[in-house]
Symmetry: C2
Subunit: 209 residues, 2 copies
DNA sequence: CGGGATAGTTTTGATACGCTACTAGTTCAG
DNA sequence: CTGAACTAGTAGCGTATCAAAACTATCCCG
């Protein structure tokens, strides 16, 4: 037992504090080397965000709330990507204040050099069981932290409370629109963490009385 | 099945890329709010490191390699914690070039306000199975990334190749010293990812021929 | 000794990021 | 129709993080 406890130590239960430390450590390590392509961490995050967000969410404000920063900072980050030629700006027609950004061809290619792919590859090498556990744990943690911060969590349309599946796609009750299968997997700023028990942490059951 | 796929979407397999994104997102979110105590992220990391590292590793250089930064930067970070009164400097007797740092009482108290505790609490609320899976996956990922970077991974003495268990403690073949149970759980700069199959990622089996 | 390696510090400079204040467009009340 | 309140986005400024390079002090090995 002693040998089990120490020699195979890390396979045993680690205290939550150390797990949390590992998380931030990994997050930091993954951001590191960007292969000379040299975007800043914030710029990489923005590029990924605009690649994965749905139409309505591809705005500076949505990115600001996703990234938990101010609109001013988000605006700068986005502008830098625009001048580098990875995003194109397009004014909205419905609301003339609003702008939407789309990835350019160069932006798409840039994503192939995302330094995060190293971490993704490592994750891909994990056992299926661990990967599935990560898939359960990480979103739940993200939602938990976001709500604790009083912020809105981001999630994909398919996991949203406003979503209902239809054959060959689905329906979003939030904007009253049909969604293509592709759109269902995209990030939405008005995501509402749903009635899905799998996404709730056990202790969270207590509700406003 | 469709309802399973979409309504309970997040409990299904997520692609490694999205898992990686969740990881950095969480890491960033956890660093955020520090409750007005206002240490910088790097300073928090240093404080945690010096709280958890073993005697031989409580040096600026060890922290630099742990944090994947330069010694110069590490020196500054540590100095700032010293002037704030959270660390005390002590010159080594064996090697007069070297300095060691210890947490002060104030430093210990500061750790109680670590913003990371929110993430740790959330992790504590996960199911036991998920926690154990995290405990397996995160260290393996950390080692994988570190070796990919050509750097040395950090780990606890109990998981080190140089460690062998004895009753009431253990022995470190690296420094030829007996370790107390407390020391076994501490971080070591000369950690050698061991012969422990649980810490190896499957694909990693291929060795130098 | 003397050369070379190693532990640590300092200085300098770039730049990321947040804060505050501002402009412009929208909505709504009266 | 008009003005107040709100929201989307931008601009400028200051802080402070972080890395690179130059420097000092000590150790070690021949």
């Amino acid at each position: 037992m002693v040998s089990k406890r120490y020699h195979f130590g890390m396979s045993d239960d680690l205290p939550p504090e150390e797990l949390a430390e590992f998380l931030v450590h990994l997050g930091r390590a993954a951001r590191g080397e960007d292969g000379g392509a040299s975007l800043t961490p914030a710029q990489w995050t923005a590029l990924r965000f605009f690649a994965r967000a749905n139409r309505a969410s591809r705005t500076p404000s949505a990115f600001a709330s996703f990234h938990a920063t101010t609109r001013g900072t988000a605006s700068q980050t986005v502008k830098s990507l625009e001048t580098k030629g990875y995003l194109v700006r397009r004014r909205s027609d419905e609301d003339r204040r609003s702008v939407r950004f789309e990835l350019t061809e160069a932006g798409q290619q840039m994503l192939d050099r995302d330094p995060l792919r190293h971490l993704a590859e490592s994750i891909g090498r994990l056992g299926a069981e661990e990967r599935r556990a990560l898939g359960r744990a990480l979103p739940a943690l993200a939602i938990d932290l976001a709500t604790a911060r009083g912020a809105n969590a981001f999630g994909t349309c398919g996991d949203c409370r406003h979503f209902s599946a239809r054959d060959g796609g689905g329906h979003c009750a939030c904007v009253s629109a049909e969604l293509t299968p592709e759109e269902i997997g995209q990030l939405c700023a008005s995501f509402a963490a749903g009635d899905d028990p799998a996404l709730r942490l056990p202790e969270e059951q207590k509700e406003t009385p």
